[in-house]
Point group: C2
Chain length 208, copies 2
DNA sequence: ATTATAAACGACATTAATGTCATTTTACAA
DNA sequence: TTGTAAAATGACATTAATGTCGTTTATAAT
Protein backbone atom coordinates (compact mmCIF):
# COMPACT_ATOMS: atom_id res chain seq x y z
CA UNK A 1 0.00 0.00 0.00
CA UNK A 2 0.88 3.62 -0.36
CA UNK A 3 1.27 6.94 1.29
CA UNK A 4 -1.76 7.45 3.47
CA UNK A 5 -3.20 9.97 5.94
CA UNK A 6 -2.22 10.28 9.57
CA UNK A 7 -5.66 9.04 10.59
CA UNK A 8 -5.20 5.91 8.55
CA UNK A 9 -1.95 5.13 10.32
CA UNK A 10 -3.42 5.96 13.68
CA UNK A 11 -6.30 3.61 13.04
CA UNK A 12 -3.99 0.80 12.05
CA UNK A 13 -1.92 1.34 15.17
CA UNK A 14 -5.04 1.06 17.28
CA UNK A 15 -6.03 -2.14 15.50
CA UNK A 16 -2.69 -3.70 16.23
CA UNK A 17 -2.70 -2.56 19.85
CA UNK A 18 -6.18 -3.92 20.42
CA UNK A 19 -5.14 -7.30 19.05
CA UNK A 20 -1.97 -7.25 21.12
CA UNK A 21 -3.96 -6.44 24.25
CA UNK A 22 -6.23 -9.43 23.73
CA UNK A 23 -3.32 -11.77 23.19
CA UNK A 24 -1.40 -10.44 26.18
CA UNK A 25 -4.44 -11.15 28.32
CA UNK A 26 -4.96 -14.59 26.86
CA UNK A 27 -1.37 -15.82 26.84
CA UNK A 28 0.49 -13.54 29.19
CA UNK A 29 3.08 -10.96 28.21
CA UNK A 30 6.27 -12.99 28.24
CA UNK A 31 4.79 -15.87 26.32
CA UNK A 32 3.51 -13.63 23.55
CA UNK A 33 5.77 -13.37 20.51
CA UNK A 34 5.72 -10.89 17.70
CA UNK A 35 4.76 -13.78 15.46
CA UNK A 36 1.66 -14.43 17.58
CA UNK A 37 0.54 -10.85 17.16
CA UNK A 38 1.37 -10.78 13.49
CA UNK A 39 -0.78 -13.85 12.92
CA UNK A 40 -3.65 -12.55 14.99
CA UNK A 41 -3.78 -9.21 13.20
CA UNK A 42 -3.85 -10.94 9.82
CA UNK A 43 -1.20 -8.49 8.65
CA UNK A 44 2.22 -9.50 7.44
CA UNK A 45 5.35 -9.55 9.54
CA UNK A 46 6.77 -6.46 7.90
CA UNK A 47 3.41 -4.75 8.16
CA UNK A 48 3.34 -4.97 11.92
CA UNK A 49 7.03 -4.13 12.31
CA UNK A 50 6.35 -0.88 10.49
CA UNK A 51 4.42 0.28 13.55
CA UNK A 52 5.92 -1.57 16.48
CA UNK A 53 9.20 -3.39 16.70
CA UNK A 54 8.64 -5.28 19.94
CA UNK A 55 5.94 -6.50 22.30
CA UNK A 56 7.50 -4.28 24.93
CA UNK A 57 6.73 -1.23 22.84
CA UNK A 58 3.13 -2.34 22.45
CA UNK A 59 2.78 -3.00 26.15
CA UNK A 60 3.88 0.50 27.03
CA UNK A 61 1.53 2.13 24.58
CA UNK A 62 -1.40 0.22 26.05
CA UNK A 63 -0.35 0.93 29.62
CA UNK A 64 0.19 4.62 29.01
CA UNK A 65 -3.27 4.94 27.51
CA UNK A 66 -4.80 3.10 30.48
CA UNK A 67 -3.02 5.40 32.86
CA UNK A 68 -4.43 8.45 31.15
CA UNK A 69 -7.89 7.07 31.77
CA UNK A 70 -7.14 6.29 35.40
CA UNK A 71 -5.99 9.83 35.84
CA UNK A 72 -9.27 11.20 34.55
CA UNK A 73 -11.22 8.77 36.68
CA UNK A 74 -9.40 9.85 39.83
CA UNK A 75 -9.94 13.51 39.15
CA UNK A 76 -13.64 13.04 38.51
CA UNK A 77 -13.87 10.94 41.66
CA UNK A 78 -12.55 13.76 43.80
CA UNK A 79 -14.66 16.34 42.01
CA UNK A 80 -17.89 14.39 42.38
CA UNK A 81 -17.56 13.64 46.06
CA UNK A 82 -18.83 15.96 48.75
CA UNK A 83 -16.59 14.56 51.49
CA UNK A 84 -13.15 12.99 51.36
CA UNK A 85 -14.43 9.83 53.00
CA UNK A 86 -17.10 9.53 50.33
CA UNK A 87 -14.37 9.51 47.69
CA UNK A 88 -12.44 6.84 49.57
CA UNK A 89 -15.63 4.86 49.96
CA UNK A 90 -16.29 5.04 46.23
CA UNK A 91 -12.76 3.89 45.54
CA UNK A 92 -13.26 0.90 47.80
CA UNK A 93 -16.53 0.06 46.12
CA UNK A 94 -14.98 0.34 42.69
CA UNK A 95 -12.17 -1.96 43.77
CA UNK A 96 -14.64 -4.46 45.16
CA UNK A 97 -16.74 -4.43 42.01
CA UNK A 98 -13.72 -4.87 39.82
CA UNK A 99 -12.34 -7.77 41.84
CA UNK A 100 -15.72 -9.48 41.95
CA UNK A 101 -16.03 -9.41 38.19
CA UNK A 102 -15.03 -12.40 36.12
CA UNK A 103 -12.21 -12.73 33.67
CA UNK A 104 -8.63 -11.74 33.50
CA UNK A 105 -7.94 -8.14 32.65
CA UNK A 106 -4.89 -6.22 31.63
CA UNK A 107 -3.98 -5.74 35.28
CA UNK A 108 -2.44 -9.20 35.52
CA UNK A 109 -0.42 -8.57 32.43
CA UNK A 110 0.97 -5.46 34.08
CA UNK A 111 1.78 -7.44 37.17
CA UNK A 112 3.59 -10.01 35.11
CA UNK A 113 5.53 -7.36 33.24
CA UNK A 114 6.38 -5.78 36.54
CA UNK A 115 7.79 -8.98 38.01
CA UNK A 116 9.82 -9.72 34.96
CA UNK A 117 11.16 -6.18 34.98
CA UNK A 118 12.82 -6.27 38.37
CA UNK A 119 16.10 -7.32 36.81
CA UNK A 120 15.91 -5.12 33.72
CA UNK A 121 17.08 -1.63 34.58
CA UNK A 122 15.36 0.11 31.69
CA UNK A 123 12.01 -1.50 32.35
CA UNK A 124 12.25 -0.98 36.07
CA UNK A 125 12.72 2.75 35.75
CA UNK A 126 9.71 2.97 33.47
CA UNK A 127 7.62 1.19 36.08
CA UNK A 128 9.00 3.31 38.85
CA UNK A 129 7.70 6.44 37.17
CA UNK A 130 4.34 4.79 36.66
CA UNK A 131 4.20 3.73 40.29
CA UNK A 132 4.94 7.23 41.52
CA UNK A 133 2.24 8.57 39.24
CA UNK A 134 -0.43 6.27 40.67
CA UNK A 135 0.78 6.93 44.18
CA UNK A 136 0.40 10.63 43.63
CA UNK A 137 -3.22 10.28 42.65
CA UNK A 138 -4.07 8.08 45.60
CA UNK A 139 -2.34 10.66 47.72
CA UNK A 140 -4.58 13.49 46.57
CA UNK A 141 -7.56 11.57 47.84
CA UNK A 142 -6.29 11.41 51.39
CA UNK A 143 -4.52 14.75 51.44
CA UNK A 144 -7.85 16.33 50.63
CA UNK A 145 -9.45 15.02 53.79
CA UNK A 146 -6.50 15.98 55.93
CA UNK A 147 -6.66 19.57 54.77
CA UNK A 148 -10.36 19.90 55.56
CA UNK A 149 -9.76 18.30 58.96
CA UNK A 150 -11.96 15.36 58.05
CA UNK A 151 -9.08 12.92 58.50
CA UNK A 152 -6.60 12.83 61.37
CA UNK A 153 -4.19 10.10 60.26
CA UNK A 154 -2.37 8.05 62.88
CA UNK A 155 0.23 6.90 60.35
CA UNK A 156 2.21 8.74 57.67
CA UNK A 157 -0.02 9.40 54.67
CA UNK A 158 2.39 7.70 52.30
CA UNK A 159 2.31 4.58 54.42
CA UNK A 160 -1.47 4.54 54.30
CA UNK A 161 -1.44 4.96 50.51
CA UNK A 162 0.99 2.14 50.08
CA UNK A 163 -1.10 -0.10 52.24
CA UNK A 164 -4.18 0.62 50.11
CA UNK A 165 -2.26 -0.08 46.91
CA UNK A 166 -0.74 -3.18 48.43
CA UNK A 167 -4.08 -4.67 49.43
CA UNK A 168 -5.72 -3.75 46.11
CA UNK A 169 -2.96 -5.35 44.10
CA UNK A 170 -2.91 -8.43 46.27
CA UNK A 171 -6.63 -8.79 45.86
CA UNK A 172 -6.22 -8.70 42.12
CA UNK A 173 -3.73 -11.52 42.33
CA UNK A 174 -5.76 -13.66 44.67
CA UNK A 175 -8.82 -13.17 42.56
CA UNK A 176 -6.87 -14.38 39.60
CA UNK A 177 -5.50 -17.38 41.34
CA UNK A 178 -9.02 -18.44 42.02
CA UNK A 179 -10.05 -17.83 38.45
CA UNK A 180 -11.83 -20.88 37.09
CA UNK A 181 -11.39 -22.88 40.26
CA UNK A 182 -12.68 -20.87 43.18
CA UNK A 183 -15.27 -18.12 43.11
CA UNK A 184 -14.93 -14.64 44.59
CA UNK A 185 -16.48 -15.96 47.78
CA UNK A 186 -13.58 -18.32 48.41
CA UNK A 187 -11.18 -15.43 48.12
CA UNK A 188 -13.41 -13.32 50.34
CA UNK A 189 -13.14 -10.32 48.09
CA UNK A 190 -15.84 -8.35 49.89
CA UNK A 191 -14.52 -9.22 53.32
CA UNK A 192 -11.02 -8.17 52.38
CA UNK A 193 -12.26 -4.85 51.09
CA UNK A 194 -14.19 -4.54 54.35
CA UNK A 195 -10.97 -5.27 56.23
CA UNK A 196 -9.29 -2.43 54.39
CA UNK A 197 -12.25 -0.19 55.22
CA UNK A 198 -11.98 -1.07 58.91
CA UNK A 199 -8.32 -0.19 58.90
CA UNK A 200 -8.86 3.07 57.04
CA UNK A 201 -11.60 4.27 59.34
CA UNK A 202 -9.38 3.55 62.31
CA UNK A 203 -6.16 5.00 60.98
CA UNK A 204 -7.75 8.12 59.48
CA UNK A 205 -9.92 8.69 62.55
CA UNK A 206 -12.83 9.52 60.30
CA UNK A 207 -15.45 11.71 61.97
CA UNK A 208 -18.82 10.04 62.20
CA UNK B 1 31.34 -42.16 35.20
CA UNK B 2 29.93 -45.33 36.64
CA UNK B 3 27.32 -46.93 38.81
CA UNK B 4 27.38 -45.06 42.09
CA UNK B 5 25.67 -44.98 45.46
CA UNK B 6 22.33 -43.34 46.23
CA UNK B 7 24.10 -40.76 48.35
CA UNK B 8 26.29 -39.81 45.46
CA UNK B 9 23.27 -39.18 43.27
CA UNK B 10 21.48 -37.34 46.03
CA UNK B 11 24.46 -35.08 46.51
CA UNK B 12 24.67 -34.32 42.81
CA UNK B 13 20.98 -33.50 42.74
CA UNK B 14 21.46 -31.07 45.60
CA UNK B 15 24.38 -29.45 43.82
CA UNK B 16 22.31 -28.89 40.72
CA UNK B 17 19.32 -27.58 42.66
CA UNK B 18 21.46 -25.15 44.60
CA UNK B 19 22.91 -23.77 41.39
CA UNK B 20 19.45 -23.58 39.83
CA UNK B 21 18.14 -21.68 42.84
CA UNK B 22 20.87 -19.08 42.56
CA UNK B 23 20.23 -18.58 38.87
CA UNK B 24 16.47 -18.39 39.32
CA UNK B 25 16.98 -15.64 41.87
CA UNK B 26 19.46 -13.81 39.71
CA UNK B 27 17.69 -14.02 36.35
CA UNK B 28 14.11 -14.92 37.18
CA UNK B 29 12.44 -18.23 36.46
CA UNK B 30 11.13 -17.71 32.93
CA UNK B 31 14.35 -16.24 31.65
CA UNK B 32 16.42 -19.12 32.93
CA UNK B 33 17.17 -21.84 30.38
CA UNK B 34 18.45 -25.32 30.88
CA UNK B 35 21.57 -24.20 29.09
CA UNK B 36 22.12 -21.48 31.72
CA UNK B 37 21.98 -24.03 34.49
CA UNK B 38 24.12 -26.52 32.64
CA UNK B 39 26.80 -23.90 32.19
CA UNK B 40 26.63 -22.75 35.79
CA UNK B 41 26.97 -26.24 37.21
CA UNK B 42 29.99 -26.95 35.05
CA UNK B 43 28.47 -30.30 34.13
CA UNK B 44 27.59 -31.37 30.63
CA UNK B 45 24.19 -31.04 29.06
CA UNK B 46 23.44 -34.74 29.28
CA UNK B 47 24.76 -34.83 32.80
CA UNK B 48 22.18 -32.39 34.06
CA UNK B 49 19.38 -33.93 32.01
CA UNK B 50 20.06 -37.20 33.75
CA UNK B 51 18.67 -35.68 36.93
CA UNK B 52 16.21 -33.04 35.79
CA UNK B 53 14.64 -32.58 32.41
CA UNK B 54 13.23 -29.08 32.85
CA UNK B 55 13.56 -25.93 34.91
CA UNK B 56 10.00 -26.52 36.01
CA UNK B 57 10.97 -29.77 37.65
CA UNK B 58 13.82 -28.04 39.47
CA UNK B 59 11.55 -25.25 40.63
CA UNK B 60 9.12 -27.68 42.20
CA UNK B 61 11.83 -29.59 44.02
CA UNK B 62 13.14 -26.38 45.54
CA UNK B 63 9.69 -25.13 46.45
CA UNK B 64 8.64 -28.39 48.03
CA UNK B 65 11.71 -28.43 50.20
CA UNK B 66 11.08 -24.82 51.27
CA UNK B 67 7.53 -25.68 52.15
CA UNK B 68 8.64 -28.51 54.40
CA UNK B 69 10.74 -26.01 56.31
CA UNK B 70 7.90 -23.52 56.56
CA UNK B 71 5.74 -26.26 57.98
CA UNK B 72 8.25 -26.98 60.72
CA UNK B 73 8.64 -23.29 61.45
CA UNK B 74 4.92 -22.81 61.85
CA UNK B 75 4.55 -25.74 64.18
CA UNK B 76 7.42 -24.59 66.36
CA UNK B 77 5.93 -21.11 66.40
CA UNK B 78 2.67 -22.38 67.84
CA UNK B 79 4.44 -24.65 70.27
CA UNK B 80 6.73 -21.97 71.62
CA UNK B 81 4.09 -19.33 72.21
CA UNK B 82 2.18 -19.06 75.45
CA UNK B 83 -0.73 -17.12 73.93
CA UNK B 84 -2.22 -17.14 70.45
CA UNK B 85 -1.62 -13.43 70.08
CA UNK B 86 2.02 -13.92 70.94
CA UNK B 87 2.29 -16.33 68.02
CA UNK B 88 0.60 -13.86 65.68
CA UNK B 89 2.88 -11.14 66.98
CA UNK B 90 5.94 -13.27 66.27
CA UNK B 91 4.67 -13.96 62.78
CA UNK B 92 4.29 -10.23 62.16
CA UNK B 93 7.76 -9.57 63.47
CA UNK B 94 9.23 -12.29 61.32
CA UNK B 95 7.47 -10.84 58.28
CA UNK B 96 8.76 -7.37 59.09
CA UNK B 97 12.32 -8.61 59.54
CA UNK B 98 12.21 -10.52 56.31
CA UNK B 99 10.83 -7.62 54.32
CA UNK B 100 13.33 -5.21 55.81
CA UNK B 101 16.25 -7.38 54.76
CA UNK B 102 18.11 -6.72 51.55
CA UNK B 103 18.30 -8.87 48.48
CA UNK B 104 15.92 -10.82 46.37
CA UNK B 105 15.00 -14.21 47.68
CA UNK B 106 13.28 -17.21 46.24
CA UNK B 107 9.91 -15.68 47.11
CA UNK B 108 9.90 -13.47 44.04
CA UNK B 109 10.72 -16.41 41.87
CA UNK B 110 7.69 -18.18 43.27
CA UNK B 111 5.57 -15.13 42.58
CA UNK B 112 6.79 -15.00 39.03
CA UNK B 113 6.14 -18.69 38.53
CA UNK B 114 2.70 -18.18 40.00
CA UNK B 115 1.80 -15.40 37.60
CA UNK B 116 3.05 -17.29 34.61
CA UNK B 117 1.09 -20.33 35.72
CA UNK B 118 -2.34 -18.80 35.67
CA UNK B 119 -2.90 -20.00 32.12
CA UNK B 120 -1.23 -23.37 32.45
CA UNK B 121 -3.66 -25.84 33.96
CA UNK B 122 -1.08 -28.29 35.24
CA UNK B 123 0.98 -25.64 36.94
CA UNK B 124 -2.04 -23.91 38.38
CA UNK B 125 -3.28 -27.03 40.12
CA UNK B 126 0.15 -27.58 41.65
CA UNK B 127 0.09 -24.05 43.03
CA UNK B 128 -3.44 -24.41 44.25
CA UNK B 129 -2.41 -27.30 46.46
CA UNK B 130 0.49 -25.32 47.75
CA UNK B 131 -1.71 -22.33 48.50
CA UNK B 132 -4.18 -24.46 50.46
CA UNK B 133 -1.31 -25.92 52.40
CA UNK B 134 -0.01 -22.53 53.50
CA UNK B 135 -3.51 -21.33 54.23
CA UNK B 136 -4.06 -24.29 56.50
CA UNK B 137 -1.02 -23.46 58.60
CA UNK B 138 -1.96 -19.83 58.94
CA UNK B 139 -5.37 -21.02 59.93
CA UNK B 140 -4.09 -23.08 62.85
CA UNK B 141 -2.58 -19.95 64.29
CA UNK B 142 -5.90 -18.14 64.53
CA UNK B 143 -8.07 -21.17 65.24
CA UNK B 144 -5.98 -21.73 68.33
CA UNK B 145 -6.89 -18.38 69.80
CA UNK B 146 -10.54 -18.79 68.96
CA UNK B 147 -10.73 -22.08 70.79
CA UNK B 148 -9.18 -20.68 73.94
CA UNK B 149 -11.51 -17.70 73.76
CA UNK B 150 -8.58 -15.35 73.31
CA UNK B 151 -9.88 -14.16 69.93
CA UNK B 152 -13.45 -13.20 69.07
CA UNK B 153 -13.21 -12.61 65.31
CA UNK B 154 -15.57 -10.12 63.69
CA UNK B 155 -14.94 -11.59 60.24
CA UNK B 156 -14.77 -15.18 58.94
CA UNK B 157 -11.45 -16.71 59.91
CA UNK B 158 -10.64 -17.63 56.33
CA UNK B 159 -11.15 -14.04 55.28
CA UNK B 160 -8.76 -12.88 57.97
CA UNK B 161 -6.17 -15.45 56.90
CA UNK B 162 -6.42 -14.38 53.30
CA UNK B 163 -5.99 -10.76 54.26
CA UNK B 164 -2.82 -11.58 56.18
CA UNK B 165 -1.43 -13.55 53.26
CA UNK B 166 -2.46 -10.84 50.86
CA UNK B 167 -0.68 -8.09 52.75
CA UNK B 168 2.43 -10.20 53.34
CA UNK B 169 2.73 -11.09 49.70
CA UNK B 170 2.08 -7.53 48.59
CA UNK B 171 4.75 -6.33 50.95
CA UNK B 172 7.20 -8.71 49.41
CA UNK B 173 6.44 -7.31 46.00
CA UNK B 174 6.66 -3.69 47.03
CA UNK B 175 9.88 -4.31 48.82
CA UNK B 176 11.22 -5.83 45.66
CA UNK B 177 10.07 -3.03 43.49
CA UNK B 178 12.07 -0.69 45.61
CA UNK B 179 15.12 -2.91 45.52
CA UNK B 180 18.16 -0.89 44.56
CA UNK B 181 16.22 2.36 44.11
CA UNK B 182 14.25 2.97 47.29
CA UNK B 183 14.99 1.71 50.75
CA UNK B 184 12.57 -0.07 53.09
CA UNK B 185 11.63 3.28 54.57
CA UNK B 186 10.17 4.47 51.28
CA UNK B 187 8.00 1.39 51.11
CA UNK B 188 7.06 1.85 54.77
CA UNK B 189 7.57 -1.79 55.57
CA UNK B 190 7.28 -1.31 59.31
CA UNK B 191 4.25 0.93 59.02
CA UNK B 192 2.46 -1.52 56.78
CA UNK B 193 3.11 -4.34 59.20
CA UNK B 194 1.81 -2.03 61.91
CA UNK B 195 -1.29 -1.41 59.80
CA UNK B 196 -1.84 -5.14 59.60
CA UNK B 197 -1.37 -5.37 63.36
CA UNK B 198 -3.95 -2.62 63.92
CA UNK B 199 -6.45 -4.46 61.77
CA UNK B 200 -5.80 -7.80 63.44
CA UNK B 201 -6.19 -6.45 66.95
CA UNK B 202 -9.48 -4.89 65.94
CA UNK B 203 -10.91 -7.78 63.98
CA UNK B 204 -9.85 -10.45 66.45
CA UNK B 205 -10.96 -8.38 69.44
CA UNK B 206 -7.84 -9.38 71.28
CA UNK B 207 -8.17 -9.16 75.05
CA UNK B 208 -5.77 -6.71 76.60
C1' DA C 1 -4.63 8.05 -16.71
C1' DT C 2 -0.15 8.31 -14.81
C1' DT C 3 3.19 8.47 -11.46
C1' DA C 4 5.51 8.88 -7.09
C1' DT C 5 5.31 7.25 -2.61
C1' DA C 6 5.45 4.44 1.09
C1' DA C 7 2.47 0.70 3.21
C1' DA C 8 2.32 -4.04 3.19
C1' DC C 9 4.26 -8.40 1.98
C1' DG C 10 6.74 -12.67 2.86
C1' DA C 11 10.97 -15.18 2.14
C1' DC C 12 15.25 -15.67 4.39
C1' DA C 13 19.38 -15.55 7.23
C1' DT C 14 20.43 -15.61 12.04
C1' DT C 15 20.27 -16.81 16.70
C1' DA C 16 19.08 -19.47 20.60
C1' DA C 17 17.05 -23.09 23.03
C1' DT C 18 15.64 -28.02 23.38
C1' DG C 19 16.01 -33.04 23.79
C1' DT C 20 18.60 -37.05 22.19
C1' DC C 21 22.10 -40.43 21.65
C1' DA C 22 26.38 -42.78 20.37
C1' DT C 23 30.54 -42.54 22.77
C1' DT C 24 33.68 -42.02 26.59
C1' DT C 25 34.84 -42.35 31.24
C1' DT C 26 35.05 -44.10 35.85
C1' DA C 27 33.47 -45.99 40.50
C1' DC C 28 32.68 -50.17 42.37
C1' DA C 29 32.43 -55.28 42.79
C1' DA C 30 34.32 -59.55 41.97
C1' DT D 1 43.28 -56.14 38.20
C1' DT D 2 39.77 -56.29 35.49
C1' DG D 3 34.96 -56.20 33.79
C1' DT D 4 30.85 -53.73 33.75
C1' DA D 5 26.99 -50.79 34.69
C1' DA D 6 25.71 -46.50 34.29
C1' DA D 7 27.21 -41.54 34.90
C1' DA D 8 28.80 -38.01 32.17
C1' DT D 9 30.05 -36.05 27.71
C1' DG D 10 29.28 -33.07 23.73
C1' DA D 11 27.91 -33.00 19.02
C1' DC D 12 23.79 -32.66 16.44
C1' DA D 13 19.18 -32.39 14.51
C1' DT D 14 15.10 -29.82 15.42
C1' DT D 15 12.20 -26.14 16.46
C1' DA D 16 10.93 -21.49 17.12
C1' DA D 17 11.57 -16.68 17.30
C1' DT D 18 13.75 -12.39 15.52
C1' DG D 19 14.79 -8.56 12.43
C1' DT D 20 15.69 -7.35 7.63
C1' DC D 21 15.06 -6.23 2.98
C1' DG D 22 14.00 -6.52 -1.95
C1' DT D 23 9.58 -6.76 -4.07
C1' DT D 24 4.71 -5.90 -4.73
C1' DT D 25 0.72 -3.21 -4.38
C1' DA D 26 -2.58 0.45 -3.27
C1' DT D 27 -3.47 5.30 -2.65
C1' DA D 28 -3.37 10.12 -3.37
C1' DA D 29 -1.63 13.85 -6.06
C1' DT D 30 -0.90 15.58 -10.63
Amino acid sequence: MPKVSEEYKEKRKEEILETAREIFIKQGFEKTTMTDIVEATGLSRGGVYQYFSSTDEMFRHITDRNDQESKKWFLSLIENSSTAWEAVEKLLQETEQDRLSDGIGFGVVQFEYFLNSLRVEERASYLMKRFQFLREYFSKLIQNGVETGEFKPLQPIDAIILFIMNVSDGLLLYRLMSFNRLGPKEVYVSEQVEALRMYLKAVLQVEQ
